[in-house]
């Protein structure tokens, strides 16, 4: 829905004449906001332009400011002008007022002509940004920025592959998105606005690869055909990231705004093409041993535009694990892509209330269409300058989550290891005497390259509750069995270990034992494991392998299976008890050969 405004504001926006006011605020070096529209009784902003686009989730901002009020005036926004009073903080330290990284907020107001002066509370907060770039070679100086929240998502990365999201029993997708935002950004824990749950659970647990947070959460949102969009929340009076389903089946009575030929200056674009139509969309999903495929298609669309094909192939460990989930993914794309998006763009006087996904009604104009037309908002851009107060509204097709973004959907579930920051109870066996370093993970043949290299396995154990406890076993497995684990260690070189306990040793074939007499101290287990899969095909690709009569051989299965385990060693006297639920083993990739 369009931004909530008062009836009076709606009337103003529908009138033939209204006033537009602009205020730009920038964060100073100590975190306070400075009103540039009244700084030293002077209006420094000359223009502001910003835009939102469905397939470009990070809105951009350009602001032009007067650079100075004359040479030697002592009032300049040039960041490196030490003669400017603006560039000093309260303790007289030099601190540029305008500098990259600072917050920059844009407010506007629309009002009836000749009305009373507007107060600050009557301004609408239309853009919450952060500065990326400042150019002041000429006046007006030019500032470029992006919306604060979405820029954080784009700039921050999931920096480690040691975090696990979802669970074997399934975590709500909105919870997983919120957890990722919480772990990897400094945004408010309440930044995510979800009006209703899509009812989709992320299962099994997965470890996202290192990637921008925006990519990780967008991929999640695409799983259910929803999108993430920065919006102003009138109720919370702050900017939120809204996780929502577009109203793909909106009816005419649900239009949030009507434009007639008396409203817009010009029709910039009116076209239709079938380039981005997709009407046959198979979704392949499921475990390697039980791959399934469902096909989402629209025969009506195929009759009109021919068969237009695209395919989603999910990894075996993707959260898309059921037909229902695969349907939601494929159907979301089908609904957004089955009809050619008629592209329509109009230019109107400044109209700030539009939001992406709004359902807009267009009255017939006698030239481009003779009946009422209904479109979803695809893009909106604004420009407020001294002599230009305009918005460009681009609509296409029905409200959609994405358009071209669907065509580059990366799939979900490219997982290497399920590393251990998950709930311990997920990994403690029923005997509560062992802990898995990573849930057993299947490595598809096309991912084997990723396991090459050196890995550190690390676990810290609490002091045992019984002094009889003496040793730990560390086992890792690699092979092709997806059920019963192959015995022993295969294709593994244990090249180093240490322990903070008094003694340690390695023994056994396939089972490494660390004897530790901990007393009242904690024990630390550190092992370095090197994987170098031995078999490659004619093209040089690694192929799965297994063990036969003590010898590594090429496997027929298309995946390998990796497993680590640490457990109390009964054969070496390790019969004591330990609080396994407090053990947090981790695995980290140290080097890639």
């Amino acid at each position: 829905m369009a931004r909530t405004v008062s009836t009076a504001q709606q009337d103003v926006l529908n009138s033939t004449k209204y006033e537009v006011h602009l205020r730009v605020e920038i964060e100073n070096s100590t975190g306070g906001m400075v009103n540039l529209s009244g700084l030293s009784s002077f209006c420094w902003p000359e223009s502001a332009a910003w835009s939102w686009t469905l397939d470009q989730p990070v809105p951009s901002l350009t602001v032009k400011l007067a650079r100075d009020r004359g040479r030697s005036s002592g009032e300049s926004l040039a960041p490196l002008d030490e003669g400017s009073t603006f560039n000093y903080n309260s303790t007289n330290g030099f601190a540029s007022l305008v500098y990259p990284g600072r917050a920059i907020n844009v407010y506007t107001a629309v009002s009836t002509p000749g009305g009373p002066a507007l107060s600050s509370s009557q301004m609408d907060f239309v853009f919450q940004g952060e500065l990326d770039e400042v150019n002041w070679e000429q006046s007006p100086m030019q500032l470029r920025g992006r919306s604060r929240n979405m820029a954080r998502l784009a700039d921050r990365w999931i920096e480690s592959s040691s975090y696990v999201y979802g669970s074997a029993t399934g975590d709500p997708i909105e919870t997983v998105i919120s957890n990722i935002l919480s772990d990897w950004t400094d945004l408010s824990t309440s930044i995510l606005q979800t009006s209703s749950s899509p009812g989709f659970a992320i299962s099994p647990a997965y470890t996202p690869e290192k990637q921008p947070v925006l990519d990780a959460v967008t991929t999640l949102a695409q799983l259910v055909g929803w999108n993430l969009q920065e919006v102003w929340s009138s109720s919370a009076a702050e900017w939120k990231i809204k996780f929502s389903r577009p109203n793909r089946t909106a009816s005419s009575s649900q239009a949030s705004w009507t434009f007639g030929p008396q409203h817009y200056y010009d029709v910039r674009r009116m076209s239709v093409s079938r380039y981005d139509v997709r009407n046959r969309i198979p979704v392949i999903f499921g475990l390697s041993s039980a791959r399934q495929k469902i096909i989402l298609e629209s025969t009506d669309s195929q009759d009109k535009y021919g068969i237009q094909f695209m395919e989603f192939e999910e990894a075996p460990n993707s959260a898309i694990g059921t037909s229902s989930e695969a349907f939601d993914l494929g159907n979301g794309a089908l609904q957004d892509l089955k009809e050619p998006p008629a592209e329509h763009e109009i230019e109107v006087p400044y109209w700030f209330i539009g939001e992406l996904g709004d359902f807009i009604e267009f009255e017939p104009n006698g030239v481009h269409y003779s009946e009422y037309q209904y479109f979803g908002m695809y893009s909106i851009s604004h420009e407020v300058a001294t002599n230009r107060h305009r918005s460009a509204v681009q609509v296409r097709g029905a409200p959609a989550a994405y358009s071209r973004t669907w065509l580059t959907f990366p799939g979900f579930g490219t997982i290497l290891f399920n590393e251990n920051t998950v709930d311990h109870t997920d990994r403690v066996s029923s005997s509560t005497s062992r802990v898995f370093v990573g849930d057993p993970v299947r490595i598809p043949a096309n991912s084997l390259e990723k396991i090459r290299g050196t890995w550190s396995v690390n676990a810290t154990f609490p002091a045992p509750t019984s002094t009889a406890f003496r040793s730990l076993n560390f086992v890792n497995y690699i092979g092709t069995s997806s059920g019963a684990l192959p015995s022993g260690i295969q294709a593994i070189v244990l090249s180093g270990y240490s322990a903070s306990a008094s003694t340690q040793q390695i023994s056994g074939s396939g089972v490494y034992v660390i004897s530790a007499i901990p007393g009242t101290t904690t024990m630390e287990f550190v092992a370095t494991v090197t994987y170098d899969p031995p078999f490659r095909d004619a093209l040089g690709n690694l192929v799965p392998f297994t063990r036969s009569s003590g010898t590594l051989v090429e496997a027929t299965s298309n995946e390998n299976f990796i497993f680590f385990e640490i457990f109390a060693n009964s054969t070496n006297g390790g019969t004591g008890t330990i609080d396994w639920t407090s053990v947090e083993p981790k695995i980290t990739q140290l080097a890639v050969p």
Binding site: K17, G260, Y264, Y265, D266, T386
Partner: protein, 123 residues
């Protein structure tokens, strides 16, 4: 009253005959909509004057240029010129020298300054 003074009437500008032009700058936007209606967001109008000085000595030209450029903008302008534009004869203006013309005379080199005065506007 002088025709044009700047900075609290202390500096009388020698304005060349027939050189002054006044333009109206609208603060806001307007256009015809698709069905012919006029829609606008104009909320005020600013003025812009441009003109030339009479030929000045190099020293006088430097003095005027420094006065116009080194002051904190906007500066105060007054005179009959501004009285013709509903400003009450006094207005805050942004002043600048946009170009110089060098004129040879029988006795020495002279300079003509092309200037602009513009009342502030805001978006």
């Amino acid at each position: 009253m002088a025709f044009l003074t700047i900075s609290t009437a202390a500096f009388a500008m020698p304005v060349a005959l027939n050189s002054v032009r006044a333009d109206v700058i609208e603060i806001g936007d307007q256009g015809r909509t698709f069905n012919g209606n006029l829609r606008q967001t104009i909320r005020r109008r600013a003025m812009k004057w441009s003109g030339k000085t009479t030929p000045l000595t190099l020293a006088d030209a430097s003095s005027y240029e420094a006065k116009l450029h080194s002051s904190t903008q906007p500066i105060t302008a007054a005179g009959d010129l501004l009285s013709t534009a509903s400003t009450g004869g006094v207005a805050d203006v942004f002043a600048r020298i946009v170009s110089k013309e060098y004129v040879a005379s029988s006795t020495a080199l002279r300079v003509v300054l092309n200037w602009e005065l513009e009342t502030p506007g805001s978006s």
